[in-house]
């Protein structure tokens, strides 16, 4: 399979069945999806996985192996903050919320992604 085909799958939000690993997403895709999810409401780790999975119609599988380092990166960059809360199942969970810096970053990344996607689509259309 040619590289651009894989890229297309990844960029269009579709998981690629045989290579469904988060590292196969383009750099920054996971962070973008986490920020977008958190923009809707604060979530804990498991809820984020579920939200992305269901939101992508089960096409994208977010592995925990990628989620937690990504969350730590985002905490370090101050795009998100975390606080301990009690979940609906009465369990202590760590809930993440998006910060203004995170919102700004999401807007920039979304805009850049859309421009890139448009460019790729134009190339593929010829």
């Amino acid at each position: 399979m040619a590289p651009y085909t894989y890229l297309l799958y990844a960029c269009s939000g579709m998981g690629y069945p045989s290579m469904a690993k988060s590292r196969d997403l383009f750099p920054g895709a996971l962070e973008m999806m986490i920020l977008r999810s958190l923009q809707l409401r604060p979530m804990h780790g498991y809820a984020l996985v579920q939200h992305i999975q269901q939101g992508s119609d089960e096409l994208l599988q977010v592995e925990e192996g990628s989620l937690y380092p990504a969350l730590q990166r985002m905490l370090k960059a101050e795009w998100v903050v975390a606080e301990w809360q009690i979940s609906s199942t009465n369990r202590r969970v760590r809930t993440y919320s998006i910060t203004p810096a995170g919102k700004k970053h999401l807007a920039e990344e979304t805009s850049r992604f859309e421009a890139m996607l448009k460019g790729i689509q134009l190339v593929l259309a010829h």
């Binding site: 804990h44 925990e64 937690y68 202590r92």
Partner: protein
Amino acid sequence: MATLWSGRSSVEELSEEMESHILEKADALEASGLSPDEALRSALRSFGNQALLRDRSEDVWSDTLLRRALTCLRFASVQLRREPLFVGVCILILGLGIGANTAIFTGLYHSAFRKLPVSDPDRLVFTTIASPAVPGIPLQLSMPLLSGLEARSTDLESLSGWMHDRVMVPDANGEQRSLSAMLVTVNAFDVLGVRPAAGRLLLPADALHNSAKPWPVVLSDSYWSSRYHRSPSAIGEHVMLSGHEAEIVGVAPYGFNGITPNVPVEMYLPIAFYDLQRPTVRRDPLREPGCLAVTAVGRLREGVTIHDADLQLDQVTRTWLQQQMASLAAGNSVYRGMTMHLSSASRGQQALNEYRPTLTLLQLLMAGVLVFCCISVAGLQLARGLERTHEFAVRIALGANQGNLIQQCMVEAMLLAAGGALLAVPIALVGTQWLSDFLTKPGAGEMTVVHPNWLVLVSAVAVAMVCTVLVGIVPATFASQASPAAVLHSKSTLRRPPSFASRVLLITQLAVTFLLIATASYSWRTLRHLSGQQLGYNPRHVTEVSAQFQELDRSPQGIMDLYRGLLSALNQHSGIESATDAWITQLTTFDPQINVAVPGDERVMQISFNQIGPLYFRTLKTRLLAGREFAEGDTDDDHCIINELAARQLLNVSATQAIGRKIRVSFYNELNGICEVVGVAADAKFADIHAAPPPMLFLPITAHSVHLGGYNVNMVFLLRGSDEQALERAYVEVLAKLAPGIGHQRFLPMERQRNDALGRERLLAYTMSFFGGLAFLICLAATLSLLLMRVRQSIPEIAIRVALGASPRQAAGIIMREMAALLALGIVFGLALLGGAVLFSTHALHVQRPADLIDVCGAVILLLIVTCIAGGVPAWYAANLQPMKVLCRDA
């Protein structure tokens, strides 16, 4: 209750977060129909390795570069810990190389480069007087001349006067100690631009001293430390100096020793204190223009060169100076035609000038030693690197690239160099202290002060580190080029051995070892020759000591009576075999010349001259060939003693025939007369141990000579006795009885004075022997390692030869032939290096016979021993190879 958390997650928090994630997922799976156990197992399985995830999450927060460096460092130390012998030898070699270079360059720096630790030292100048009667000897000034010069318009911005002296100070036990002091004009510190470490320095008001006030005294930092433990309360304390009350007003800065940077000075007093130190009967440099005893240190105006200022000074002062000296010039030729000159004082009065060529030679050799150390470490690293070929191959097979291996080797090399640098610090400290001992001026009685130069230590560390690291990465470079599969499969060493590099290392090692051994051999022969030759006197069991009789307010005759009284008491004391006194002691390089002639003969000779007391020749065990020693009754200049050489050259007679002959003597018009020869002594070395015994004339110490001795001359007592401590006790006891309250300087064994006179030779001999021996051992170890390495590389080749019918002797011959070739090349290269050293010794040190065939032969024999031992082991190994086993293994 939720806790606000926005920073870095702790390990516990990450664990809890992951745990709750897994449980949430298990709940969801359970809700979808799985049993609780299955749901939990499935959730755990899909989550993956929690520890790994925690590590990755932690890594986000850690500095990757630092973490990698730390990991690398940890790994390198683990690797090095596995080979303590290799590490120990490398660190020892590097530590010695760096430490020795630091110590020797410290000496060289002090003798050749170090400037006074004062403000803008390049503008400081000595003002001296030149006299045609004593060419090449700069004379000092007197205070009247200094004041007159200050009043004249010259390029000197300011001018100060310095006089070295000794003062008596009670120690903690109340005993009087004679300490080194500088008597200075009150502007001395301002001229030099020095600031106090505590309190204040001398002020203009201190020049106007009155008896109601104590004398202001400024302590040196070292005396403040040793006597007052740097206590600020010492400032303002009153002390008795030579019986006069003084007040400590301040402390000079650390490292400041006035204008004598390597000679310790304990305190600074106004120059007017001199009046109290001297009775009026002596010559007075504060008032007599012709008493030239004040060192004048001035500061040039900004932008003026010494050359221009010197020309201007000569123009301005020539007529004035000759007018000032006119009355004296009639009676003494020294005062005729005097001119004033300037010379740089940026380095002060250097006590170490004469050691400069020796230290330069040593520094060159030490630089060679440092290179040798780096080469040896390189050889050891190379051998070790090749031993690790399999390790490198495994790492390459596991994914390491060339960069990883080089980085690893570099870190290991840096650790070795850092270890060497750490060891170098104590070696440099001990080495510098040891060096000070050799740099002591003969007869000075004071230890030369040198401190380690840290800048040099850093430079030497940098050089060693660069060399070690550069060579350390060579094995990794070779290893990364090899195919790991081939290396691991064959179980043998590299296929592309760095044979050229190892050959060059071996040849250089052999050459430097040759040079060091040959130089050490030469140095020892010279030292043995000089110390074993006949001095003409026996310095064993003779102790020198002086007392400060000039402190006593007595007439010259009174002091003369005291000398005689002391000698009489000392000679009667049970602890003393014999005692005498003299003006000049042996081997101090001070060699005054006296004009002598036979009455009626116009021919005038200049010969060495000394003034001595009774029993001089007996005390020194110099043979008296004819006549007698001076007796107590010889209290005028009518009698003299000469040595055999003087009898032959001046009187042209034998020793016996010289007795009763008359000699006309003249010493700067101050000693003039005719004396009768009452004794002839055997020839003996006098001022310079390197020179042949000179013709000599001895005059008795008299009241006249005490008077002429001027303001600062004390006779030195020479005491013979086998028990040095008994001698010292006896002297102190007699002194306390006859001249209570008089301090004495420290006791100095005459043998020590001889050793000091041989300082250059001893320094060279000891240093070169140490490093020659060390080089021998290092060369042996390094050559052995490299040869073994090369034998291992050649195992298949040797095995094939043996399999094809070569005998064990022929197999061993391969190694020995190679070693012989390397030895020959090493000796040729070493001879070239020795040639360079000989050239330098001849030109810079004026050594007539810098190396002999015996030194070369000795070095060659020792290197042959190295070859036999270092080549023998691998040769034996080669001779005992079992070819089939080797070839089957490598197949």
